[in-house]
Symmetry: C2
Subunit: 425 residues, 2 copies
């Protein structure tokens, strides 16, 4: 029987310079000594993809996606060849592989293709022959043999898909942070790295703006129950955050993480006539302009009129205001008010499913700190509140304390991390 396989993915900053590539090679040599098979997926060197995109945009206002894919795929190929060379210098029988060579077949939706199949025949043979495969992430080929790319975070998706297809034991995502934190360490000094997060929690965190993993990659891992580990390639420490299935037998912390999304804005329409069809009149023009609305709140109607507020991404506020001012005239609303000085604070925890009182505790904590809640939305494992931006730091720290998130839920002692703590959740 063949040896266990681990898939490791190194992001753009992890292979951003020749020095970093050498460092990654040293790390792989160490892992290799433990006698397991390794398949490595790499991103383009940091900055490369943007440089190529800028060139394309300077030649064409709306560059053809097929050509963009051929252009961008070069970045990962260069990283793969260079890392393979660095490994060979260290005596490791490494081989660089393009998306095509590793069997990554996709549909033809250029620049955001979906994986249709992975032909693992060659990869399995080469792994059997004891090679370390260094795969150019983010890319595949379609049925016509044209190069495609998988879109934002595509290399993470390549890694998880290959881990699944080759039956890897786990998929390790190496980046410039050493895991998923209870809160952004720049905002909350007591923030603690989480040892374990469930797929569901990670999906909520990712959709609430956690940059560490793309939603698509987590969805893929979740679907196929592939354990994901987020680690830093910049520290020697081997710990990270494991993203896996919820273990019903294990005691869950009630809340796992707290996020503060600053990319928020609110629009309020005053004295909207409270008639059927009014909501459609308001939100359809926004949908037509591809503006996504997040939370919506409607006050209790008074004398046939109501105030209506909704939130959206801050960069879409100006465009939305132009639309809303037109809509207000049509539906005879008296005023349109924009507010860009708000944030969305969210608490995520799979434990909420079995624990009540989380929302109540949030409201009580914020109230005790004289923080007014402007809007609220909840899901099964999440509570989000809109508050004024000036309160954000106080609110996040107060909630982090209230839910005792700095302490580990299990018996292990909560060691303070010294690793680089960049924005995680």
């Amino acid at each position: 029987m063949s040896k266990p396989l681990i898939v490791q993915k190194y992001g753009g900053t992890s292979v951003g310079t020749l020095e970093r590539i050498e460092h990654v090679a040293d790390r792989i040599v160490k892992t290799r000594k433990s006698g397991i098979d390794i398949l490595v997926v790499v991103s383009a060197m940091a900055g490369e993809t943007n440089k190529l995109l800028e060139m394309a945009r300077s030649l064409s206002q709306n560059p053809a996606r097929r050509e963009v894919d051929l252009l961008l795929s070069s970045g990962e190929r260069i990283s793969a060849a260079l890392l393979a060379l660095a490994l060979q210098t260290r005596g490791i029988p490494a081989l660089s592989m393009t998306g095509r060579q590793i069997g990554m077949q996709t549909d033809s939706t250029h620049t955001r293709a979906r994986i249709t199949n992975i032909d693992t025949q060659r990869a399995r043979k080469l792994l059997e022959e004891n090679h370390v495969l260094v795969v150019a992430g983010f890319q595949g080929i379609n049925a016509e043999g044209d190069v495609t790319t998988l879109g934002r975070g595509g290399s993470d998706t390549s890694a998880v898909a290959l881990a699944v297809a080759l039956g890897a034991r786990q998929c390790e995502i190496y980046t410039d942070v050493d895991g998923v934190y209870t809160a952004d360490p720049r905002m909350v000094p007591q923030a603690r790295r989480l040892d374990v997060v469930s797929y569901d929690e990670m999906l909520e965190m990712a959709s609430l703006g956690a940059k560490v993993l793309q939603i698509r990659c987590v969805e893929f891992a979740h679907k196929y129950k592939m354990p994901l580990i987020v680690k830093s390639s910049f520290t020697e420490e081997d710990k990270g955050t494991l993203i896996c299935e919820e273990d019903p037998k294990m005691e869950q912390p009630v809340v796992s993480g707290i996020m503060c999304d600053k990319n928020q804005a609110k629009i309020t329409l005053k004295e909207v006539p409270d008639q059927p069809g009014i909501a459609a009149n308001i939100f359809e023009p926004l949908a037509s302009a591809s503006i996504s609305v997040d939370m919506i709140i409607q006050n209790v109607s008074e004398q046939g009129h109501t105030d209506l507020s909704f939130t959206l991404a801050r960069e879409e506020l100006d465009e939305a205001m132009v639309i809303m001012n037109k809509v207000a005239k049509n539906i005879h609303a008296t005023q349109v008010i924009a507010d860009a000085k708000i944030v969305k604070i969210s608490i995520v925890g799979a434990g909420m499913r079995s624990h009540s009182g989380v929302a109540a505790k949030i409201f009580k904590t914020l109230s005790a700190n004289d923080i007014n809640i402007l809007m609220i939305s909840t899901s099964e494992i999440k509570v989000s509140c809109i508050v004024e931006q000036k309160h954000s730091r106080l609110a996040v720290n107060a909630l982090h304390d209230a839910f005792d998130m700095a302490s580990k839920p299990a018996k292990k002692s909560a060691k303070k991390k010294t690793a680089k703590k960049v924005r995680v959740v």
Copy 2:
């Protein structure tokens, strides 16, 4: 029946910047208007290939050729995608194609692979559909599906091979010079661009150091009788040099070009015992060190001893001297003398086949200018002389005059060129 096809190849300086790529696109638009099919082959942007090679060498003293091929092939892919985008912006239905996509199949000799077959099925279909194909030069794939590259001047070879496989009318090589000249214009102000050169002449010129075309590409064109045209992408003028078969019905100029190769050095062994096997004792150690010897001259033997001189590339002189000093001891030669201050002046002309007296005219001309000839070598269509370096400019100009090379052989008037005249022959 399908339209006539022209293959155009643009070198590294021709696509060296985004501005140059736009310029090339404009040029293709013009050609396209004349209603012919076009397949374009591009090199990597000038400097890209060296940048990638340097990275590989900094990671590995002896980088694996398979990985180097994947690495280097990225450069041409980037150019191809960018030029295709620039053409699309101009309303041309262009498609970028990698070596694999255009069907370029090679053997597995990484970094200097030989083309084994070109599968033209897809290319023919796309050309029929009226596409302009923009092909990444220099690359193909082997039977295992790994990326290979064709070695020095590989994009020229890609272009000629595709022209042959697709039955193109001609193959145009765009570079930073506007053709093949009778002499290096920096050395001979009267140098004239040649309208036509035969394959045989071009092969001699290329092997004598003319940089404008690689030997391999000319050999390929010769073998399949594909007309080659060398043009500049930096001038608006549409003239260049046609390289084609000798036309026996046409009056040939006796000589076509004169070249001065400064990369020459001479070693002389004094008083070598004139015994059988001595030559082997001298030249085998050089061959083992991969040092190529060009001309060899042996004086008439006197009292069982002779002086022996040979020429070689100047950069190999030091290494060769170390070897020769050892050899001299073994064979009891009295002295080893190095001379790096020599040049090789060569006159090439297919007309020599039918005209005698060329060598005599050369000797007379040099003698009249008090230039001593150190060594001589001849072939069917070439005479080369080694002279002292200090005489090189005088020698070349005197010979250029003596053979009246500034005048066109035919009736057409010899218009003075204003185009950029960079080193050609």
